[in-house]
Amino acid sequence: MSTATGKNFFEAASGWKSWLFTLDHKRIGLMYLAAVCIAFGLGGLFALLLRLELLTPTQLLFSAKQYNQLFTLHGAVMVFLFIIPSIPASLGNFFLPIQLGAKDVAFPRLNLASFHIYIFGALFCLYSIFAGAIDTGWTFYTPYSTQSDTSVISMTLGAFILGFSSILTGVNFIATIHKMRPKGMTWFRLPLFLWAMYATSVIQVLATPVLGITLFLMILEVSLGIGIFDPALGGDPVLFQHFFWFYSHPAVYIMILPAMGIMSELVTTFCRKNIFGYSFVAYSSIAIAIISFLVWGHHLFVSGQSEYATMLFSLLTFLVAIPSAIKVFNWLVTMYKGSISFDTPFLYFLSFMFLFSIGGLTGVFLGTLSIDVHLHDTYFVVAHFHYVMMGGTVMAFLGGLHYWWPKMVGKMYSEFWGRISCLLVFIGFNSVFFVQFIMGSKGMPRRYYNYLDQFQPLHAFSTFGTWILGLGFIIMAVYLLKSLKSGEKAPDNPWGGLTLEWKTTSPPPLENFETVPEITHDPYDYEKAGL
């Protein structure tokens, strides 16, 4: 098939069918991008509402049950519809084949099926919001979830279906990275984003089915009362927690590993410097993926797990800190003596460095047995995982979005507004969540809609923060959408990046390259590249 037509992938076909039934990984990536951004907006709206309720110590807008429904929907939408597919399915889908030098992913039809399954699952989740809004918390813990009169079945069925979308993406990416590498693209010439995507895919394939079967058993429990998780029928509710976290802890790394991959891309491009310790950064992704399967028990420290298991899980949890810290230090050292340009994507890189470090370190606190017993189920935990998930994953997602936006749509966004919005997001985020560490350490329990008067100043501060954060995102949505219409035309390589996506046009042609570039050096070797 000739690609030397000068047409980019937008111009290659038109009409809604050319999108909804496309086999082009770039179009599928963009549809995923739109879908996860809508999910993020919806989850964000729930967050704004529930923080509004927490402005005062007593009831303001919602009843206790409505509050429970709000935080459940916030969690479920953010986890299953936004953050799990966020980077892999959108940016990963778009850039994995291009960075590899391939024309498409290994199984384009499977890729499309995965998107259709995502939409199908999302419909169940949306239905669940309107048909009795689930109130169990996004973790669906039994026995409450089997007794709740809210829409437990439709939401868990939605998550079950979404799981298959995630699995199929993982299968596709693993096969693509193994088998679609062109000549010269050895494993150790892979951009680090691809190593991260590979590690992510392994977790997606091996952990997600366990969530699938767990939710399947839970649906049987709710509908047929099979009793596996019900102590009244001789079952074991803690077994549900084990099953759930056997997926959901590795899932945390499904969320953070792709983000770490983006970080490696950003630091090299915006510092004009080869990555410090390529193989350490690459292997640490694999190490995180492996250890991630061995730490689920740290969610069960106070659930009646045996003391020996608890000690072992605590130790294993500390181990995850090692590869994570290797990455952070390597990025830091890469910056040393680099020629740094502070464009918007790099500002998100810096935000990640600050916020993820705080999120990661507080994770070590929580992995420590004696401390966790006190901090368990407090706002300290809420602040910790938001620092990792939002301070880490969302910041890197936004960094990647700004980094690759010109390549994806062929238009530049306003750099000025990009920086302003990044600043607002950074300030807003810290205002919302830093005070939650303080509240948590003083004993404020999570998931309560009323609280003692003494916490009001901190709660109010946190709520004000959500407005700054919201403003930052609204500005971002406006300038990004505006750039589609009136943005300057993007050059092929606006940031001076070395990986293959910068060697094709913006936006790329249908099969990604007019001619596949020859791969003769390491992905970030600025000296050999003569730049």
Partner: protein, 215 residues
């Protein structure tokens, strides 16, 4: 009869360089997918271990309600079907189309026989009230018997669903073979369904002793 249809030549998909790369990629993808399948069933096996440990006597009693003879018959059906599947793949690989089709039809019949036996077993359980959870009304000396049947129906039900999906896939292979779409240079779908079918067989080989042969 089937040899009447001319060979329909396969074109390598645009994003692959060679037919070999295409085949190897499909095979790797299938293995990765099968790893996913193993993990999918794993939680049921873990639940089995936990509950058997908690209620060993009850499991012993419950397994006596199951007919090991019917279970063994089904095991024979599935193992034989794995053999006919292998022969089906092999025949496609060496261009013996009509043999391949015959083996695939044999596989389909054996899979159907498995489902018939399963139906007989299920209706007997339904009749005696050996049902999961709140539907349980069977006789027995352990009041947690329903837990065993919860696991039994979840495990064999999911496995049965896999058999049904496999039957659909084998039927699809037979139709495509009749059209002459598989030959020595292209038999990827036959190979892939074969891999899937062996996994379905393998899962049953674990389920059979765990559920039927406790005592």
């Amino acid at each position: 009869m089937s040899n009447a249809a001319p060979v329909v030549e396969h074109h390598v998909a645009h994003h692959f360089d060679t037919a070999e790369q295409e085949f190897e990629t499909a095979k790797l993808g299938m293995w990765v997918f099968l790893a996913q399948e193993v993990l999918f069933f794993s939680a049921i096996f873990v639940a089995y271990i936990v509950f058997r440990h908690l209620h060993p006597e009850m499991f012993l009693e419950a397994s006596h309600h199951l007919s090991w003879k019917l279970g063994a018959l089904n095991t024979v059906f599935l193992i034989t079907s794995s053999f006919t599947m292998v022969m089906g793949v092999r025949s496609a690989q060496v261009n013996e189309r009509s043999a391949s089709i015959k083996y695939l039809i044999a596989t389909l019949i054996l899979a159907g026989a498995f489902m018939v036996v399963k139906y007989i077993e299920y209706s007997e359980k339904f009749h005696h009230g050996y049902l999961p959870g709140k539907f349980f009304f069977g006789e027995g000396s352990h009041e947690t018997l329903h837990l065993f049947y919860g696991l039994y129906f979840a495990a064999t039900g999911l496995h049965g669903l896999h058999v049904l999906i496999g039957m659909g896939l084998i039927l699809w292979l037979i139709i495509r073979s009749l059209r002459g779409e598989f030959y020595s240079d292209y038999y990827t779908p036959v190979e892939m369904v074969g891999l899937y079918w062996h996994l379905v067989d393998l899962i049953w080989i674990f389920l059979f002793p765990l559920l039927y042969l406790v005592g």
